[in-house]
């Protein structure tokens, strides 16, 4: 068999939260029996974005903040691929914020996994959009991606996980990837993934995380109920995690994700036969339509 690229050893600091994500992602891919050649991980720029190098799947290393645009197009070009975009909070919520919002609107069946460490790890610890007031001189209000995502009308699968709880994370990633593979639309997962070097929050987060699934009134199909539970949890100084939105199955073409709306027969641009001969009749007709 032809030998192709092998994963490299990770370059993260020992103890980095991103190891938890790597382990969970590996497990989920194995659990779902996804062959390496069928999966593409589009990595952002940051410590987190390097994850594509450490997994035995296809990797596309995007520009800083642009991973979602690239990942969406990979899926639209070949809807048979399993596509995961993964990067940091700076990548996704600062420079990539435009794409973050539009990804919900596009509703392509890909998973976007943000490893939120509330800092810019790779550039050595500057404030990020999620940094709390006071971190590295930050005086701006921290951004909350889950509250934002819950407030955007969409059929996306939404969850927040914690690197200190790899078991739950594996289950969530498996569910999200399967959601994508079933062409049910976009999935967004934010993982709380501490940067042990510039913002070690492991201990604090372990104490503060509250799984909303265990709270009274939780209903993963009811955004407003989950939104309220999140706000209440945060008011108590805690951090809500868990599956935030598990949309019910909806039938009908309107419910289709973008790749099926555009490509009803599942054949994408990358698989189209572009030979002149294969298209000659249709091409002639098209050219003759210009008078």
């Amino acid at each position: 068999m032809v030998q192709s690229v092998k994963p490299t050893a990770s370059t993260w600091c020992p103890g980095c939260g991103d190891f938890g994500v790597l382990a969970a992602a590996k497990k989920a891919l194995v659990e779902l029996k996804i062959p390496p050649h069928e999966a593409v991980l589009v990595g952002g720029i940051g410590c987190s974005g390097g994850i594509h190098n450490f997994l035995e799947i296809n990797g596309l290393h995007a520009l800083h903040g642009r991973l979602l645009a690239q990942a969406v197009a990979v899926k639209l070009a070949n809807p048979k691929l399993t596509v995961i975009a993964a990067g940091g909070d700076g990548d996704g919520y600062a420079i990539g914020m435009g794409h973050f919002m539009h990804a919900f609107k596009k509703n392509v069946s890909i998973l976007y996994l943000v490893m939120n460490n509330e800092t810019y790890g790779l550039t050595k610890g500057q404030a990020s959009p999620t940094s709390r007031v006071g971190y590295e001189g930050n005086v701006e209000q921290p951004f909350d991606a889950i509250l934002t995502a819950l407030s955007i009308p969409s059929g996306a699968y939404l969850a927040r996980t914690f690197s200190g709880d790899p078991k739950t994370m594996t289950a969530v990633l498996s569910e999200a990837i399967q959601f994508n593979r079933d062409h049910r639309g976009y999935a967004f997962v934010e993982d709380l993934s501490p940067c042990v070097t510039y913002n070690d929050t492991f201990k604090e987060w372990r104490e503060k995380v509250v799984n909303v699934e265990k709270l009274p009134g939780y209903d993963p199909t009811d955004r407003s109920a989950v939104f309220r539970l999140c706000l209440e949890t945060m008011r108590d100084g805690k951090i809500p995690i868990g599956v935030m939105h598990r949309p019910p199955r909806v039938d009908g073409a309107d419910a289709n994700p973008l790749e099926l709306k555009l490509l009803p027969d599942h054949v994408g641009p990358a698989e189209a036969d572009i030979g002149i001969e294969a298209n000659r009749v249709a091409y002639q007709k098209l050219l003759q339509s210009v008078a």
């Binding site: 690229v5 070949n78 990358a270 210009v290 008078a291």
Partner: protein, 602 residues
């Protein structure tokens, strides 16, 4: 020519023909139509264009030849000629004006004895040579809606220019039959109203007559449409872009064309999204394209460099307009070339192709896709506002002149025979093998970070040097693959002109003028601008005493590029530049050449 007094209402004449003047035969005619947006200026241009084509003439139409960005003014022009002209005629014979503003704006573009035909129900024209009919009132009264004034005006022009009556009517039938019986009837009625009004005025009848031409079976298209068609047959299947004048039509055409071919068009949330979507699609194995103009190009620059380093083939169409910043969105310029040639941070290879005619947009669009995929780098298809948006007649597009080759794509058998599959394999040809993600048995790592042959991130200095040489080497290795120039004019001429893009139209017209003046001149139409086509430019420059590089920018960007690559020719190069937002008219090229020739002692 005599100057008839302003007519504010149709004047019935007794016997038609009694006061006829001998008509002037035109084999090259230009008509400008100006008014407010919504006056239907484009409809009149379309009707006239259709008529002239039926007479076997070449047609060139352009929108907004006059307008500054102000109010709702809209104008357009149509030129019809026995010779193949893809340029705006230096002076127009006729202006159809729906308001006085159009006259003020058009004045510099009008012939000394040009006629202004105006809608006397709206205003009284102030110009030496005018003829007025109350088109809007007549149309409102007899057709029921004043908007039919445009078709009525077409009818009046048909009388002024001695059009064949049956053909004139046929044009209306062809244009409006698809809009339903009622629309057709109303337009035919409007046509008759306009004709009748003109026929009742002796000063209007057969003022000109139009020579027949031999150009039949031509098609009329803009460069943007031709490029979109070229992308379809060249195997393009993914497009992402953000609306921007004058590039938007490429996206709009592809929205119509692509879905039947498993193609996808996305309007991105901005140019950053668009270029990165194109990168993602190219990575997945699709032939992917974006189109933009100045401001969007600036935003895409990071992505274009990323594609070059990650070795992903993409095509970027730049429809140049007046820059920088928002500049003049609807105006013509060729001022992005220097930016494109030195694009972005770091150093990386790219090809810049420049079609010289509408037809060429089709063929080079397809070529761009082949080159981008084979050499795995960004290919810029450089258009300009005039080429993008002006419509010109040309020969029907020939599918047999298009090839789709995928030499780097490994078949499953080829792949099975390999021991290793390295996405960035160093080879003598500079080309690495390719299979798209999803190919059983192999995976790849693709990155804009410096990488080794496997795609692993690397800062090894030996590797860095090799990878730089691999990428930059493409500029040399691909030379024979790049589109060659076109030559026009007598081979032994000692005066040369060099140009690209839409300037080819006025340059070719200028060659004819110069020939008539006894100044033989020849033209090198560059179709690859970067890498600078030294192999063909050097012999051309050797064969002339002086070469005028004709371009629409302030600093002579192409001339500078040539000097940079070919300093030995420094002294032979002169620039003819225009940067007022208007495209060249032939005299603007003839004059500097004439001056230089007569002023040069040889």
């Amino acid at each position: 020519m005599t100057t008839p007094a302003a007519q504010t209402a149709p004047q019935p004449t007794e016997s038609e023909g009694a006061q006829r003047r001998p008509s002037t035969l035109l084999s090259d005619v230009s008509i400008i139509i100006g008014g407010q947006g919504g006056d239907g200026t484009l409809t009149v241009v379309d009707l006239l264009g259709r008529y002239f084509r039926k007479r076997g003439l070449y047609v060139y139409t352009s929108r907004n030849v006059l307008s500054r960005i102000r109010g709702g003014h809209a104008d357009a022009s149509v030129r019809a000629c026995r010779a193949p002209r893809a340029s705006i005629k230096s002076k127009a014979e006729l202006l159809l004006a729906f308001d006085q503003e159009s006259i003020e704006i058009a004045k510099p573009e009008l012939d000394a004895d040009a006629l202004v035909l105006f809608d006397s129900s709206v205003f009284k024209a102030d110009f030496p040579n005018v003829l007025g009919f109350p088109f809007a009132t007549l149309a409102g009264g007899q057709v029921g809606q004043p908007i039919y004034k445009n078709t009525a005006a077409y009818g009046a022009i048909s009388v002024l220019m001695g059009f064949d009556e049956a053909l004139t009517r046929q044009v209306i039938e062809e244009r409006f039959k698809r809009r339903g019986a009622e629309a057709l009837q109303k337009n035919l009625k409007a046509l008759e109203i306009g004709r009748k009004a003109a026929l009742e005025n002796a000063a209007a009848i057969d003022r000109w007559s139009i020579a027949d031409g031999e150009a039949h079976d031509l098609i009329l298209m803009t460069g943007n449409q031709a490029a979109a068609l070229g992308f379809v047959v060249g195997g393009g299947r993914f497009f992402a872009g953000y609306p921007i004048t004058p590039a938007t039509e490429i996206m709009e055409y592809l929205m119509r064309y692509f879905p039947s071919f498993h193609g996808v068009v996305r309007q991105g949330e901005d140019e950053l999204a668009s270029i990165n979507m194109v990168i993602g699609a190219a990575y997945a194995g699709a032939r992917a394209i974006t189109s933009t103009s100045g401001p969007g190009l600036s935003l895409m620059t990071e992505g274009i460099g990323h594609a070059a380093t990650a070795e992903l083939g993409i095509v970027v169409v730049d429809c140049q307009r007046v820059g920088p910043s928002t500049g003049e969105p609807t105006r013509h310029e060729q001022s992005d070339l220097a930016h494109l040639a030195h694009l972005g941070h770091g150093e990386y290879p790219k090809f810049i192709l420049s079609p010289g005619s509408v037809e060429d947009c089709f063929y080079l669009a397809a070529d761009a896709l082949n080159l981008a995929e084979k050499w795995r780098l960004p290919v810029i298809l450089l258009l300009d506002q005039a080429l993008s948006q002006n419509a010109a007649t040309g020969p029907a597009l020939d599918l047999d002149r298009v090839t789709v080759a995928r030499p780097r794509h490994l078949t499953p058998e080829q792949l099975a025979h390999l021991e290793t599959f390295k996405y960035y394999e160093l080879t003598a040809s500079g080309l690495s093998p390719f299979v798209p993600p999803g190919t059983p048995g192999v995976t790849s790592q693709v990155t804009g970070n410096e990488h080794d042959e496997w795609g692993h991130v690397s800062v090894n200095p030996v590797n860095r040097a090799k990878m730089m040489q691999k990428r930059m080497g493409k500029l040399v290795q691909a030379r024979d693959d790049l589109p060659g120039p076109r030559y026009f004019g007598p081979a032994d001429a000692r005066v040369g002109l060099i140009g690209f893009g839409s300037t080819s139209g006025p340059i070719l017209e200028a060659l004819d003028w110069l020939e008539q003046e006894g100044i033989p001149a020849k033209y090198y139409q560059a179709r690859t601008l970067f890498p600078v086509p030294e192999a063909t430019l050097a012999p051309f420059l050797d064969s002339v005493d002086t070469a005028f590089v004709v371009e629409h920018n302030f600093t002579g960007q192409f001339a500078r590029l040539i000097r940079e690559e070919m300093p030995a020719y420094h002294a032979k190069l002169r620039s003819i530049l225009k940067y007022d937002g208007f495209s060249f008219r032939a005299p603007e090229l003839v004059e500097p050449v004439r001056e230089a020739v007569h002023g040069t002692k040889r």
